[in-house]
Point group: C2
Chain length 417, copies 2
Amino acid sequence: MQAEIITIGDEILIGQIVDTNSAWIAQQLNSIGIHVKQISSVADDPSDILIALTLASGRADLILVTGGLGPTKDDVTKQTLSTYFDCGLRRAPEVLAHVEAIFRRGNRPILEINRRQADVLEKSEVLFNEMGTAPGMWITHKERPYVIMPGVPFEMKHIMRERVLPRLRSLDGRVPVWHHTLLTGGIGESFLAEKIADIEAALPAHIHLAYLPKPGLVRLRLTAIGENQERLKQETQTFADQLKERIGEYFLADEDTTLEKLIRDFMQEHELLLSTAESCTGGNIARLITSLPGSSSMFEGGAVTYSNAVKHSVLGVKEETLDQYGAVSEETVREMAVGAKTVFRTHYAIAVSGIAGPEGGTPEKPVGLVWIAVAGKDHVTARKYLFGQDRAINIERSSMAALGMLWQLLNSEKDRK
Amino acid sequence: MQAEIITIGDEILIGQIVDTNSAWIAQQLNSIGIHVKQISSVADDPSDILIALTLASGRADLILVTGGLGPTKDDVTKQTLSTYFDCGLRRAPEVLAHVEAIFRRGNRPILEINRRQADVLEKSEVLFNEMGTAPGMWITHKERPYVIMPGVPFEMKHIMRERVLPRLRSLDGRVPVWHHTLLTGGIGESFLAEKIADIEAALPAHIHLAYLPKPGLVRLRLTAIGENQERLKQETQTFADQLKERIGEYFLADEDTTLEKLIRDFMQEHELLLSTAESCTGGNIARLITSLPGSSSMFEGGAVTYSNAVKHSVLGVKEETLDQYGAVSEETVREMAVGAKTVFRTHYAIAVSGIAGPEGGTPEKPVGLVWIAVAGKDHVTARKYLFGQDRAINIERSSMAALGMLWQLLNSEKDRK
């Protein structure tokens, strides 16, 4: 079964908002075996909407529409839809009661423009929206189901979860699909591709391998489409195991997760404490870890030591070390890591110092040069990296490399026990 | 002039990534008077790509394509493009040299798959990509310019800024447009709307007001479309001044900028130094500041003090204070701010302590409770906030509130001089 997602709204086409709805909807559909053929974003314009609906009906068996139902612009959308579906509008009493209740609760006077939110397509079934005033609609037209939903993400998600997905699960023509994702780190996309080329080439036609690179990480996703989900699961597992073995040291996890989650879970389980000492990453590593609920159980704290004075006064990096080797050096990051471990009284510590750019590079120490050290239970490992010219990417890649080094150390020290 | 944006990539259609490129491109085009008619996302599939290009050429005068040029899948895309544009591929020597240099720099052996990145459409002009291995292409086909770019956001943005936008600015058929953005903070979108309702209602038809909310901030953007850009500029200025006066204390800046940029520029100019002491924001404030080039000239460093022990040992918060008032209290954040100012030897310091959630709330101190203190030259201000249940949003709003408090203090102390 092929689906198309149409998002309506001027705000999308002038770039005021990023359309996050489509990705979320696509994920949901994909997970229940509905393949998304195309995503189209059009303006709040009758003819654009009509053309989009007409083209979509030629491409897809299921059409999902979001947006254009807010009180200030639902007139255009609803009139256009009633033209397309060739039916009038009716005022849904249950929706009207709900809208009026919302205004009563907010002690706000209700206007006709608000009441009109209760108008739905005559032929449609109401997809009730407890979360807001704009209801969703389900309408079947020329044997194709159309799902029409408001564009406010949490309202749309609510309607999808409660009303739409349960119905879609009961539709025929869905192809069983299975995804298996592997997380890799420290190896570039093209290198990885070369490394696993023969395994990828040997994949059967119904199993597809996708490369999903992020700075410092590449996720490999096997997607299998077929008859029997159980068998797809087993098949992808077989190939995942082959990939895992081939990827070797660059393999991080057998699931679609993040390094910081892996580290949090591992350190929680083993009751280990972590601290950070960040120069060029400027707090990004601490931010990534503390973005996770429950991180306070394994993260004591960190120091963002941007100036040399602070590297010395807060982390105890020796002034001679800074003078002799400079802030971006193996000696300095090693002392930073040991200093953090001591100051924050933790079992492990990460230290990063580099030149993020665009300024501050020299012939000997160019922009993109980053030293990372990880202090473990009984020793400190340090490594030099040479990233690129972009500040944001250098910060991101340094953070991922540092978390990757910690993850490897955690596992090696676990294995040694 | 009408443009269409086509984003290519299976990862978009299965919802693995959110397409942020289109919104950014649309913003850029909009700001130079090019109207985006439609955004279409299609799979890495030759026929889907061909159909999308054909339909787009019927709708738009300018077509921008992103994605599908990574080393592991550029074959499909480039072959499809050479079919559509009816021309072969040539290996661009300047691109090849660049790709080889990147690999030399990283001490990585170059593979044929990497060299192929230098293959471009015969008829196209190369849009050189200093940021990565996949070049962009500019090709004119049946009187329509097509811009083809890699999907990696920072590479695409670089090519757009350096190569594409300058050329587009010289194209005819663009409608004069002018944007004037005001940055506000500490007031919700609906309150703001109520506050300025009459000014908004009085706007002429050719001037549109858009609300662009982010956690803790709302940008107001006036967009004027007309004949004469100079006049549009003056008109929007008049309304911007009215809005500024009405918004009063919530007004932050008369431009589309960020709090951290305003703070960096002000502190650089006045040679002031900043430090941070973060608990619930976990380094996010330091991260925001250090994401800016040149921040090292005004940011000394910061402490992420997640545990009470570290609040005491690193920042010198008194144990009695922590025992008596708890980590999330006015007394503690005040001592954190003063501690940071002392430890990092700065003129200003920000301190944040709160309960980000989802765990850790109590009846007296619920999830979303955040105390923020800012230590200035001669005094410390502290404020209590009660945000919501969502951890990520609480961290973001706390960060914005803290930067907003610092910005106000900087300005008040400047005014007092």
